[in-house]
């Protein structure tokens, strides 16, 4: 990248900078006129000095700008009197105001856009460079440093870039214009006005240099601070586990102190500069008053001349101040640019073509993978891989074994072209691997390491990530979208960004060996099955939701499963007890009173189950069907029972959390409430007390709590309330609840609940497991297993896959690598988080799958190498021996040791 910010700005925005400068220049004559006209108004129109009316307007409206005569009226000749002359000039003044402000607006907008485009370009360039950093760079540079550099640190550069050339040109021009104006009036006065500028020009850069150094220090310290924050967030577990929060806080406070210190010095320096600057500025008037005044008294100078000089000096102050500000701003921007850009040029960075250019030949690799004398050293120059040579045939399966630190991990990274060797060559199918672009290595090879990363998004997003190299089919676009797309491309070009369409279809179906999205989902599930994750994804699917508008076929199938489940259960009385289905005309004993009343799923927050008792409509429904008193009475009984049961338990007792309707904090309140209330006259209670009691019955589940409070009378009334609730639901709440309907798919419930369409009964041993098994049976019977698993592909995995277990993340990463059908699959301890049974299953599956293809697996235990064609034994960065497992396990002492140490 360009060494200085001016170089960068000039290279990418020279045309814009010239345009802005020209626009500024074009505005200057009008600015000159803007100063000239008021003078003419006062001298000629007010005072009529040296004027005889009527006068010839065309003569008068010919202004001399920098010695050039501009006739504003052209060839027309009009004679006017003093008053019309005044108004003509005033109108001209108004027009000039408009023109000047118009220029200002246009230039500012243009300037802003240029700056923002350049900022976009700079950020893009920096980010693209991050993607090309050699991996070891990230050991020295944390994300805590990189993020503020690309976001906050370059932000002010955008503002500066717009001003880089145009501001000095404009304000300089402005200054010169006024100076020119002054010189034309009286050259001595003009000289006096600028007499002190040389002093400022000499002094200020000297002071500014100190501020610049401090600015540099500040940037470095803030960067360290953000690095610290990033590190703390990542290692927050350790902070808790070892009680080091005070140390961490002190460390942070310490950093803040140093930043404050630097800030303080910057402020002092900056205001010293301002102080001197302003003082010098005021020296001008001082000279005018004292020296000019002296000469006026002496009678050597007209008083008017001194006053004019003071006014001119004042006019000069504004652009001069702008120029000095600009000087400080450019110093600041230069430092920032310099400090950011120097960080983004690490040694060994790959060129942009390495990623951007699509090679012509992407045919499958064949032949062999050969390394000659390959050496890799760590940052202390200790060889990790030491003069290693090997030849691997691309139709065999290799296991790499060795102890920790034997260099096997680095070897896999070298073979996958993720690390560059310091010495030696790697050739891939006859090509020098060093010049192969990422398009070849990233598609024909697949690498999965021990801590493969899962990105936020769905399982499908992660699974198909390895197929998204280039947009392959444009998105479906209407005219409006096409227009927006054109704007997008235009803007991308203006700021040197990539032009690809994010919404296009990026998936390379061919690479996965399929024709379309449907087939790809099936292939994805197959890959997950190979790796033993299909059942988990199926279960995600059961807990997932679908939109019946989008998938009416699936919704119908799930409704069939609902019927199927009912048929199964009807055939076996033992099963019938496990589920209590939803029936619009029957009270469900395994559901809470709240659920029975609403008889549907809340959509949005309006009817949140936890706060149902607070909803005015719900309360109104109770009132209408005459349930209020009964709810109060039941609430009172629930409260008394809870107080009786839990009053003498310690408040932190887990039974509270598990069983009580009332939290330990609320218990004393409730106790007091019970004491002051009269059971016979609950209606007389104050509103808050009533609300508290009313809320309790909503959570009551008869089959679970067995309090004997929900008798048939209450059930009947709740059913009545259910009907009233549904039939009187106000317009604005129509969409806040989706009622249970045996014939309809409930979009707000998950698939499992839709099939179940009821509640799993309390008090039946292993009811949940048995119902789960039953649902699985029904799903299989109807051939829905795959469709449900496909819904599971839409499961959101959370930040960095945090909603998946470590084992699931590893499995997903493996499936992702398998799906793109690589010629060479390189694994580095990629199954460490799995239990040994799943691990063995994956080894078997992959060995079978890669029969006749190339699999290179650095295994964590030597015994896993048994079924491979060849075993490579790594020791101290060298390839110690290569052979079949049977020989090595008998003949090689080191291998024997490795096997024995397991």
């Amino acid at each position: 990248m360009e060494k200085t910010i001016y170089g960068y700005v000039w290279r990418f925005s020279s045309r814009q900078q010239v345009t802005m400068t020209l626009m500024s220049a074009a505005s200057l004559p009008f600015l000159y006129l803007f100063y000239e006209v008021p003078k003419t108004i006062i001298n000629e129109a007010f005072q009529g000095i040296g004027i005889e009316y009527p006068l010839e307007l065309s003569e008068k409206l010919t202004f001399s700008v920098f010695g050039l005569d501009i006739p504003l009226l052209g060839p027309f000749e009009i004679a006017v009197d003093q008053v019309p002359y005044l108004f003509t000039l005033c109108a001209l003044f108004l027009i000039l105001v408009g023109i000047n402000q118009g220029f200002k607006y246009t230039i500012n907008v243009y300037k802003g856009l240029t700056g923002e485009r350049m900022l976009r370009r700079l950020r893009f360039e920096l980010f693209a460079r991050v993607l090309r950093f050699p991996l070891p760079t990230f050991r020295k540079m944390s994300q805590g440093e990189i993020i503020p550099m690309i976001t906050a640190e370059v932000e002010p550069l955008g503002g500066f870039i717009g001003d880089a050339f145009s501001l000095p040109a404009f304000q300089g021009g402005y200054l010169l214009t006024i100076l020119g104006f002054l010189f034309m009036q009286d050259w001595r006065m003009a000289m006096a006005a600028v007499a002190l500028y040389p002093l400022q020009l000499w002094l200020i850069p000297k002071l500014q240099r100190k501020v610049n150094l401090l600015g540099k220090e500040r940037v470095a310290r803030v960067r360290r601070l953000s690095d610290k924050i990033g590190e703390t967030v990542q290692g927050v577990q350790e902070t808790h586990a070892h009680d080091t929060s005070n140390f961490v806080l002190t460390d942070f406070a310490n950093q803040l102190f140093w930043i404050y210190g630097v800030r303080e010095r910057i402020y002092r320096q900056k205001f010293v500069i301002k102080f001197l600057n302003n003082s010098i500025q005021q020296l001008g008037p001082f000279c005018f008053y004292s020296i000019g005044g002296y000469f006026v008294i002496q009678g050597e100078l007209e008083i008017g001349t001194v006053i004019a000089a003071i006014a001119a000096h004042k006019d000069l102050a504004a652009p001069w101040k702008e120029l000095l500000n600009y000087y400080q701003m450019q110093a600041d921007a230069s430092i920032k640019y310099d400090q950011v850009v120097s960080q983004f040029d690490p040694a060994g960075m790959r060129g942009p073509d390495y990623q951007l250019i699509e090679p012509d030949d992407l045919s499958p690799l064949s032949g062999e993978l050969a390394a000659t004398n390959m050496t890799l050293t760590d940052d202390q120059d200790v060889p990790v891989v030491d003069g290693l040579s090997l030849r691997l045939s691309l139709d065999k399966r290799y296991a790499i074994i060795g102890s920790g630190g034997s260099g096997k991990e680095e070897l896999t990274l070298l073979l996958a072209r993720l690390l560059d060797p310091d010495n030696g060559n790697l050739s891939l199918g006859g090509n020098d691997a060093a010049i192969l672009s990422e398009a070849v290595t990233g598609r024909r090879l697949a690498y999965v390491g021990p801590s493969a990363f899962i990105f936020a998004g769905t399982i499908a997003d992660n699974l198909f990530l390895g197929l998204k190299h280039r947009p392959l089919r444009p998105a479906q676009e209407d005219d409006e979208a096409a227009r927006q797309r054109a704007v997008y491309v235009d803007e991308a070009r203006r700021s040197g960004n990539i032009e690809y369409d994010l919404d296009a279809d990026w998936i390379d179906y061919e690479a996965a060996g399929v024709d379309d999205a449907d087939a790809l989902r099936r292939a994805g599930l197959a890959a997950l099955q190979q790796i033993g994750m299909d059942e988990e994804v199926y279960r995600f699917g059961l807990r997932g939701t679908i939109d019946p508008q989008v998938r009416p076929d699936l919704a119908d199938a799930i409704l069939r499963a609902r019927t199927g489940l009912r048929t199964h259960m009807a055939a076996d009385p033992a099963l019938l007890e496990l589920v209590e289905g939803f029936d619009g005309d029957a009270y469900n004993l395994n559901a809470s009173i709240g659920e029975n009343l609403m008889f549907g799923n809340p959509v949005g927050d309006a009817f949140d189950v936890e706060h149902l008792a607070e909803h005015p409509y719900v309360l109104d429904v109770l009132e209408q069907v005459g349930l209020t008193e009964q709810f109060l009475s039941v609430g009172f009984q629930v409260a008394s029972t809870m107080v009786e049961l839990f009053a003498d338990l310690p408040p932190d007792h887990e039974l509270f959390q598990q069983f009580s309707f009332i939290s330990a904090d609320e218990l004393p309140d409730i106790q007091a409430l019970l004491q002051r209330s009269d059971r016979a006259n609950l209606a007389a209670l104050p509103d808050e007390d009533r609300a508290q009691l009313m809320s309790l019955p909503f959570k009551l589940i008869p089959a679970r709590h067995r309090l004997g409070l929900v008798d048939e009378d209450l059930q009947g009334k709740v059913l009545e309330a259910r009907r009233y609730f549904a039939s009187h639901l106000p317009e604005d709440l129509q969409h806040a609840v989706e009622f249970f309907d045996a014939e309809k798919y409930n979009a707000s419930a998950n698939i499992q609940d839709n099939i179940l369409f009821g509640k799993v009964a309390y008090g039946q041993a292993q009811a949940a497991d048995r119902v789960g098994a039953l649902i699985s049976d029904v799903v299989l019977e109807l051939g829905l297993h795959e469709a449900v698993a496909e819904v599971g592909l839409s499961f959101e995995v959370g930040i960095a896959g945090s909603r998946l277990s470590t084992a699931q993340r590893q499995k997903l990463a493996l499936a992702r690598a398998l799906l793109k059908r690589p010629d060479i699959l390189i694994l580095s301890e990629a199954t460490t988080s799995l239990d040994s049974a799943s691990q063995a299953g994956i080894v078997d599956a992959l060995l079978a799958d890669f029969q006749g293809r190339c699999l290179i697996w650095s295994v964590q235990r030597a015994s896993m190498a048994e079924g491979f064609d060849q075993v490579l034994v790594m020791r101290q960065g060298r390839l110690m021996e290569q052979g079949e497992f049977a020989e090595l396990s008998q003949g090689n002492e080191h291998v024997k040791e490795l096997l024995a140490s397991e």
Binding site: L655, R706, Q764, A765
Partner: protein, 158 residues
Amino acid sequence: MSLNEEVELLRSIPLFANIEPSKLKLLAFTSERLAFQEGQDLCKQGDIGDAAYLVVDGTADVVIEGPDGGKLTVAQVGRNAFVGEIAILCEVPRTATITATSKLDTLRISKDLFFRLVNEFPTMAVEIMRELAHRQEQTNLQLTEANRRLRELENGGG
């Protein structure tokens, strides 16, 4: 069955006879009422035990599987029996498999609650000791009987 009926039921069981009604109510409320179908296991030998069961109604077999895989039914239990307590008392895996031999109605008492009750009510601990001692005595008798028969067989064979 409602909570109050359950409390009455608990009171009729010697183990809980001396516990005050409000505690029994807590026990009943926080314990899960669990029904088993014939053939279902309450617990499996070797599993981690986290609860004991009070048989409210029905019958079950207590089966021990020997190291050779042979199965021995050591007891048949019915109404009011308290089973599965050894694993939670001694922190050992389940020592036997308990299988329902009819439709079985139980109250599942979690380990935590069980210990709380034992701590608060020494009489309950005494009851449990009595029950265990009783079983020990039964076991001793059976062992003596077994030894006698074994000797008979050896003598008869020799």
